[in-house]
């Protein structure tokens, strides 16, 4: 049964986290010299799967075979020994070390106990040439742009003599020119016999680059098809049901403009951004990562400053860079980084739910803890937060329930304009639908919702209008009825805006 070209085989892998079954019976295999695409929605389990191969997680069931032998990958060292290298969406590079140092981090060639810089830089040069990138090995990683960072990561993987290279959405942050270059490198690696696991959301990339496709849905592998499979068929496999069911948006009547943003500009980040969100309306913001979407909504919420423009809520102008003023006007923000910005992970459900209302529940310096508890209990019940009790630490909740807590704290504060930044990232399908229902209830009560999402079907399915951002500007606005994935993507990658400035470097 074993194929001599087979590098890697996964059989019936299972992995559970408290409250969530992340993977439940996934099969996968990889041959020498092929690009095998992993396709699936956000939260389908792709990241969990590759974390098993890199040693970050250990499976609860099933087998992993490398070269036909069962292996247990318990850490990065095991993965490295087996020749498996992973390039994550977030790079694992040390900004203040040089390119060469990053490539050989922890394995620097040594002579007499000292790092042999000459050898290290010469070796790095060879690797960098192989990936076809023109970077000095002595350059500091901090000074490089996103695309080059990725090339450095690939060079690092090559330096490990990786036979299996896993790439998690490598094209999400690249321009189309950079994508072409990346594809050329991937193809040459394939010719060298490297097996590549490629994760992407861009269906057109599958036909351009892939050999085979494995589709994962709700933690199960639902099919393995050739890369030439038509896109419609791939989508059907991936979603497994009609889009109307998954995105239960109920459009109602819209009222007056609640949020009005005019000419909002922050030099070097976003420019001349204007839009309105009406009562009872959901406005989606689509665009590539790095297009400036999060930066705009953070500025609207007052979390970051802006240089020009105005923000008005129900006709009244808001002071810039003042979260308190934005909140008082009824704006709430559910941030993109749920754990890093939305929750106090070591505190309880009750305390997190009460965070926004704590000040208004304070009389003479004392917090009305009883009232806070009653309110938390009511909202947790209403949102159906699955927990052991109000005292459970938020850290131990599943992603979907954590997100409900973040949204819940804003619901308690009678928020009129709710900004959702990637509200369903990493959340299972069931919880997603519950969050969509919440959005429906909010707009039915006359609130306005502004939603950023990188998940195109979600933006199309849940928004009434879609704003598309590209390179810090609004590239266009589409009515939800007319918008398609193609039309949104066309705007998202458009460079024909009057923009002449370069995208500001983003820190990592």
């Amino acid at each position: 049964m074993s194929d001599k070209d087979e590098l890697l085989r996964i059989e019936g892998i299972r992995k559970t986290f408290p409250g969530v079954v992340a993977l439940d019976g996934v099969d996968f295999d990889l041959r020498r010299g092929e690009v095998h695409v992993l396709l699936g929605e956000n939260g389908a389990g792709k990241s969990t799967l590759i974390k098993m191969l890199s040693g970050a997680y250990h499976p609860d069931g099933g087998r992993v075979l490398v070269d036909g032998e069962e292996v247990h990958i318990r850490g990065a060292q095991d993965a490295e020994r087996l020749g498996i290298a992973t390039i994550y969406q977030e790079f694992n590079l040390v900004p203040d070390l040089t390119v060469a140092e990053n490539i050989f981090l922890g394995r620097q060639p040594r002579r007499l106990g000292m790092i042999d810089r000459k050898t290290m830089e010469a070796d790095a040069e060879v690797l960098l040439k192989r990936v076809g990138v023109n970077v000095s090995p002595r350059a500091r990683v901090r000074e490089l742009g996103i695309a080059r960072l990725q090339m450095v990561e690939i060079a690092k993987a090559l330096s490990l003599d990786a036979r299996v290279l896993i790439m998690d959405e490598p094209t999400a942050v690249l321009t189309s020119e950079e994508v072409d270059k990346l594809f050329a490198i991937v193809r040459s690696l394939r010719e060298d016999g490297v097996g590549i696991v490629f994760i992407t959301h861009h269906l057109e990339e599958i036909a351009a680059l892939g050999d085979r496709v494995t589709v994962i849905r709700d933690g199960k592998s639902v099919g393995q098809v050739p890369a030439t499979t038509p896109e419609d068929e791939l989508v059907r496999l991936m979603v497994g049901r009609s889009i109307e069911q998954q995105y239960p948006r109920e459009r109602g009547d819209t009222g007056p403009a609640l949020l009005k943003v005019e000419g909002l500009t922050r030099d070097g980040v976003f420019h001349d951004v204007s839009f309105e969100v009406h009562a009872g309306e959901v406005v989606g913001i689509a665009g590539l990562v790095g297009a400036g979407r999060t930066e705009v909504v953070r500025a609207v919420f007052g979390a970051d400053p802006y240089d020009k423009g105005t923000v008005q809520v129900a006709g009244a102008a808001l002071r810039g860079h003042d979260v308190g003023a934005a909140m008082a006007a009824g704006i709430g923000l559910v941030p993109e980084d749920r754990k890093g910005q939305g929750l106090v992970l070591d505190q309880s459900v009750e305390e997190n739910l009460g965070l926004v209302t704590m000040r208004s529940a304070t009389r003479g310096g004392l917090v009305d803890l009883k009232g806070q508890r009653a309110a938390a209990a009511r909202i947790a019940e209403q949102l159906g937060v699955r927990m052991a009790g109000l005292h459970q630490q938020v850290r131990t909740l599943s992603g979907g329930n954590q997100q409900k807590v973040v949204i819940g704290k804003w619901l308690l504060a009678d928020t009129r304009v709710l900004i959702l930044d990637e509200p369903t990232r990493g959340i299972d399908v069931g919880a997603k639908v519950e969050i969509y229902q919440l959005v429906n209830e909010l707009t039915a009560q006359g609130a306005a919702v502004l939603m950023i999402s990188s998940d195109l079907p979600e933006v199309l399915g849940m928004s009434d209008r879609v704003l598309v951002m590209a390179q810090g500007r609004i590239a266009g606005e589409l009515d939800a009825d007319q918008a398609t994935q193609d039309s949104v993507m066309a705007l998202a990658v458009s460079t024909n805006t009057v923009n002449t400035e370069k995208e500001a470097p983003r820190g990592h």
Binding site: P18, V344, V356, M358, V367, H391, K409
Partner: protein, 647 residues
């Protein structure tokens, strides 16, 4: 967790849970049991109240630090701010006649101001809390020295009652500690600012995006810490009836240790007032118990360090074992592992403490020998080590059980040690005060208990001592001045290295130098700088002075250690173009005199001081009459007479 309340019944199961959930409490109980088993004097009402008093200052400081640590900051300045607040109170009330009530308000305002500056630098200046409060540590200490001009200031009597007892048995510092603890618990648990501390400490960005005014809260948090520091400073000074500019030196570390032992994480977001109280009590029980057990002063520090590490380790291991995901089935293998870990570590701690103390404490029990305690100001200096050697040799000869403690130049630690001596019923106490004013309350207490007190080297003010055994510092100072004057032929430039500001020895010797130099108008003193009786500081200060005055011909140092530091700085000049005169006649000093690098040392006879003090203590125990003032002669040792001289 911050808000969990233990509603478990009085059942044994409830108690077990309480102990399992609270590593620090377990450690405290283990310690108390161990100490009671080892020392019959430990588990008495008097002694337990002593422990409370001794924990009070650390605990009050630590309550303030708890606020800061819960909000993921750190406050290193609390010890200095405590000293500054007390100094401001004493300075305004005693020296400037400000009404005491206003002076108390001023002290609290001082604490708030220091805290606000910290908070401002951190919240708006974006300085790391470590750096901002480290700067305040230095500034506040410096200001308290500036205001007090380096000398202790008597504390107003009305405020000094804070250091007394109520009804003759209940110490006020304990009451203040309990009150401040309740306030801290209330602030943390119920108030807006308290709840904000947990949110900010847990995730500052999430708190900010939820509308908490993080910067304003930080200002208030550090200000609160300042208030608690001010209260601690006032209590400390009240106990000693004197505001000492050098008080509470290093207490910030004790306070931080207490908070962390109490279960708070330096990463922020967790911590409770009750835990902090337990942490402070653990430190106090340890110090008290080790004193009672007569553990060598040097080993005490080792034991304290080990126990701090073990107490926190106990808590960490317990948490780790308990941190298995809730959904993975509570009470399963995780629960068992957690119990085993706790019991295992508790056993290790017990064995370590019992083993260490019984191994270390000098066997002194059940003999009919007279017992004497000797509290030395420091053992960091050969002079005092020699006092100890002289005393120990004499005690051995006379069959006296001698317990020696080291106050590490901290007046309040000495007060604790004297209190422990008094409550363990010694026959006599020999005290070498850190500060002559600050020791008075403790000596009064010993007088009340009818325990004879012999002061050695430095006197005690405002309290009766049966005898003072001392060298004459003023005469010695004059002799030093005379020696250098004659050596330089009555003409030349000299510098003077002074002792630690605030100590009587430094003052008296300086007085002697001035008196003695009057006879030599041709001698010009080009600089006088303190070098704190310390060799390293002597080296640094002398190096700096040489930059400004390369042509000095003579150096008078208020002790041999500083003289030896100065000799290092002078290099080959020492003993040739520059003559150095030291004070004390320590073995190192005498060796330098032999080598010719030190021209002369005004030699005290420290081992004689120790010997005579023990002799007199024994006389007092036997009810014989002792002289009130016993002067041990000083003499100038130069190369000519060094061979025949022994301390």
């Amino acid at each position: 967790m911050a808000t969990d309340t233990l509603r478990s019944g009085a059942s044994a199961g409830g108690l077990r849970r309480l102990l399992l959930d609270n590593g620090a409490l377990t450690a405290l109980i283990v310690l108390v049991i161990a100490m009671s088993a080892l020392s019959g004097d430990f588990l008495t009402t008097d002694n337990l109240l002593n422990v409370g008093v001794q924990a009070a200052v650390t605990a009050i400081l630590a309550f303030g630090v708890t606020f800061v640590i819960v909000s993921a900051g750190i406050d290193l300045s609390v010890g200095s701010v405590a000293a500054l607040s007390a100094t401001v109170l004493a300075w305004s009330a005693t020296s400037h006649g400000v009404p005491v009530f206003v002076a108390v308000v001023l002290a609290v305002v001082t604490g708030i101001a220091a805290g606000l500056v910290n908070g401002f630098l951190i919240a708006y200046g974006k300085l790391p809390p470590f750096i901002a409060t480290l700067a305040m540590l230095s500034v506040a200490r410096g200001l308290s020295l500036v205001i007090s001009e380096g000398s202790p200031i008597a504390f107003p009597d009305s405020v000094s009652h804070l250091g007394d007892t109520l009804g003759g048995w209940l110490p006020v510092p304990v009451l203040v500690m309990v009150l401040m603890g309740l306030i801290a618990a209330f602030v943390l648990g119920r108030t807006y600012i308290g709840r904000s501390m947990y949110a900010i400490g847990g995730n500052e960005e999430a708190a900010r995006l939820s509308g908490l005014r993080v910067q304003k809260q930080k200002l208030a948090i550090y200000a609160l810490s300042g208030v608690f520091a001010a209260v601690a400073g006032v209590v400390l000074a009240a106990r000693l009836s004197s505001a000492q500019p050098q008080a509470a030196d290093g207490y910030e570390l004790d306070a931080i240790a207490a908070v962390v032992i109490g279960g708070a994480s330096l990463a922020g977001g967790t911590g409770k007032a009750s835990g902090t109280l337990i942490g402070a009590l653990i430190l106090a029980v340890l110090r008290n118990g080790l004193n009672l057990l007569n553990v060598s002063a040097f080993w005490q520090q080792v034991v304290i360090g080990v126990v701090i590490a073990l107490a926190v380790l106990l808590d960490t291991v317990r948490r780790k074992a308990g941190a298995t995901p809730v959904a993975a089935g509570a009470g399963g293998p995780g629960g068992k592992g957690r119990q085993a870990a706790t019991y295992g570590l508790a056993a290790v701690v017990t064995v370590a403490i019992v083993g260490a103390t019984s191994f270390l404490h000098n066997d002194s029990s059940s003999t009919a020998n007279p017992k004497v305690g000797l509290s030395l100001s420091t053992l960091n200096n050969p002079f005092f080590v020699q006092i100890r050697s002289g005393a120990q040799a004499e005690a051995k000869k006379l069959g006296v059980d001698l317990t020696v403690t080291d106050a590490q130049n901290d007046a309040s630690q000495q007060a604790n040690q004297l209190q422990n001596f008094t409550s363990s019923g010694l026959g006599a106490i020999i005290v070498n005060p850190v500060d002559s004013d600050a020791a008075s309350n403790s000596v009064k207490a010993a007088d009340k208990a009818k325990i004879p007190v012999i002061a050695v080297d430095r006197g005690v003010n405002n309290a009766r001592t049966d005898a003072l055994v001392a060298s004459d510092n003023v005469t010695g100072g004059e002799l030093a001045a005379k020696t250098i004057g004659e050596k330089l032929g009555g003409k030349g430039k000299i510098v003077i290295l002074q002792g630690q500001a605030g100590t009587s020895a430094a003052r008296e010797r300086a007085e002697g130098f001035t008196k003695g130099l009057k006879a030599y108008p041709g001698i010009q003193v080009v600089a006088q700088q303190p070098a704190d009786f310390d060799r390293t500081k002597g080296l640094d200060v002398m190096s700096n002075l040489l930059q400004a005055h390369p042509d000095v011909q003579g150096v008078i140092a208020a002790n041999d250690e500083m003289a030896l530091g100065a000799i290092k700085a002078l290099g080959s000049k020492a003993g040739k173009s520059v003559s150095v005169v030291g004070f004390d006649g320590t073995p190192d000093g005498l060796n330098a005199v032999k080598d010719g690098t030190l021209y002369a040392s005004v030699a005290q006879q420290p081992s004689q001081l120790g010997k005579i003090a023990v002799d007199n203590a024994l006389k007092a125990i036997d009810g014989k009459k002792v002289e009130e003032m016993i002067k041990v002669p000083v003499k100038v040792v130069t190369k000519e007479n060094v061979a025949g001289f022994t301390g």
